[in-house]
Every structure is written in C-alpha cells, then in structure tokens.
Symmetry: C3
Subunit: 139 residues, 3 copies
Amino acid sequence: MKSYRKELWFEVPSRRGFVNITSQIETCLEESGILEGLLLCNSMHITSSVFINDDERGLHQDFERWLEQLAPHEPLALYRHNRTGEDNGDGHLKRTIMGREVVVAISGGQLDFGPWEQVFYGEFDGRRRKRVLVKILGV
Amino acid sequence: MKSYRKELWFEVPSRRGFVNITSQIETCLEESGILEGLLLCNSMHITSSVFINDDERGLHQDFERWLEQLAPHEPLALYRHNRTGEDNGDGHLKRTIMGREVVVAISGGQLDFGPWEQVFYGEFDGRRRKRVLVKILGV
Amino acid sequence: MKSYRKELWFEVPSRRGFVNITSQIETCLEESGILEGLLLCNSMHITSSVFINDDERGLHQDFERWLEQLAPHEPLALYRHNRTGEDNGDGHLKRTIMGREVVVAISGGQLDFGPWEQVFYGEFDGRRRKRVLVKILGV
C-alpha cells in the first residue's frame, strides 16, 4: 500500500472567493503513482472549504449571494465569536454549509469523476496564506 | 489490498426525489469480498446527493419543504446560473446542503451502521439517467 | 494493511450540545498503531453530527442560534416526521447542516490537522446514550 501527502497553499486576495484546484489535485495524483484508492482533500483551516461542483461563474455568484443570505458577514455583532476580536464569525458558518472536505475515488490512475465534477477551494476569510491537504491512500 | 468499483444508475421520474440505495450498496459490498475497509458512495453529478438519514416518509417531506425554503426552484431568474439556459440553479444549492458523498466503515464484511442509518440518493434535477459511484478499499 | 474500529459513547444531558472529542480520537489512533492512512469518524445516529471546527464557546453559541433559525425545534407540528410520535424533526435537519462524518488524514502517526482544527460531537436530540464510530485504515 502507498500513501501520499501534499499541502497546497492559497492566498485569495479578497475576503471570499472560489479557486478551481482540480488540476493541482491531478498533479498530486500523478506524483503519487497510485492507481486504485481514495483521495482526501480538505481545508486545514476552519473558515474555508473544499467542495465539488460546477465551474460556472454564474453558479459561483449564486453561492456567494446565498451564503451571505444564510450567514451574513455584517453586522459583526451578530456573532458572539466576533467578541474574541475576530470578524470571521460568518466564515465559520459559510464553511459549514460548503463543507470541509471531499473524498474522491481513484480508479485507473484518474480522479473518478462524473462529467461536470470539479474541485474548488472556497475561501470565506481570505487575504492571507492558507492551506489545503491532499492525502491519497491506495495501490 | 483490494479495491472495488461500481456505478449505479438512477432515473427519478420527477424533478426531485429520494431513493433508498442501501440494499444496492450492500450488494456491492458482497461482490467486493472486502471485510475491513472504507466505502465511498458519491453522486457523479452536481445536482444530486448521496446522504445518510432515516427511511421515514414524513422526514423526506420535511427535507423537501425545507430545501425549497432554503433554495427555492422559482423564480428561475433568482439564479444567475439559469442564464446559461439551465433551470437547475436551485438543485446545485440543495445538493450542497444534503452533501455529495458518504464514507462508510466496513467491518466484518458489513456496512458498519447504527440502527437507523440508511443511504439515500437525493435527486434535485431528475427526469434523466444519472449515476452514483461506489468505491471500496480494504482487505 | 491495518484496520481499527472503536465506538465512543456519549450522553449529552441537554437536548443539544457540542463535545470536543479530539483527544478521544487521538487515543484511538495511538491504540491502532497506524502511521499513514485515513480515519473516519461518524455519528451512528441520524440526529447527531461529527464535525470539525474551532473550540471557541462564542462560536458554539453562534452555531446554536443559527441552527435554531434554519430549523427551529418548535412548533413541533412544523415537521411531518413528528407525527410519528417523535419530537426530533428539527434534529434531523440540524444534523444535515453540520454533517454526519469527518475523514481525517493520518500522517506520521498523528491526526494531520491545521492549527485550529478540533473534532466535535454535535448532539441535536440528547438526554440518552448515543454512539460515534472511529474506523482507521492504513499502515
């Protein structure tokens, strides 16, 4: 059995944003040499997400509007967490909706995806360097 | 180490619906011969879900009402994604709430479940054939 | 390849509550002797969650307020599921938001976490004994 580990670093220049990281994950898979197994990709932070959906700009705008409606950034006083001096209370909730991690099947040395599946890093408290973990287990 | 892969196909006759797929997953597990490991079951589409909850009709009606409240199908113009000619903007959001995938422990050749855990395919843009992937890794 | 399985039991004395279970999961990992692999931790019940976020009391109060807003406990008649004699319709929905499970990378015999990641059991229908499953696969 083989295992593989890599950290991917991102710095989103705005508070919120989505980054398509599918090709970086494919590079990890090639480096691993693993043909059959499971790949875990997770945010190592608690105000960002890794999720799978469509790479369509309108959809990403829909996510942005919807998440702001479900857990608005302001007023900051809405969140007790912000009493600690943070202003990212909303980011913890938005990340909860979008999820921390994805697990992807590896089959024949490929990400075993349907036709529209793409992996995104979702940032909800950006403007600083943050990490995503890729771990692959298999043969 | 063994690995196993299978696609399950579904065609839900309405726009939205839930299908209990637990027995089909159990059949996959039997075919795999795997006794100890991890099973991934994910939708291969981005407007449907695989999730674990109770097989109770009233609960499924609650999910339907609740998801329509959180991300209503209409007005279609609510979603920028629908400007691409799609009418499934809501389906991408509903699937995000319900989740893309489940990971299940395999112990002693069984799905290692609590008493009420059942696996469902959740469709949010149906009336066409769509796929679920089952991947099992273990010994 | 090694595999490891353990059930952790909890009895939250109120209807809802969050319990930091990170150290119990670390103990499982030590017992397993696994150095490289994947760890699944899931609720075995359908009205509770396992999730990863920050161990900060204000944030947990934010989660409580927010989940009550998204899926209020009362009125009980809001949920068709409650017609079965249950009063936990809201708990099924809250658990859906917070998630059933987490998958964590194991690297060098440690939970491969970012600086603030902690694992929580989230209870939405407490005052009785309930279980969490820990399954580890690796070498």
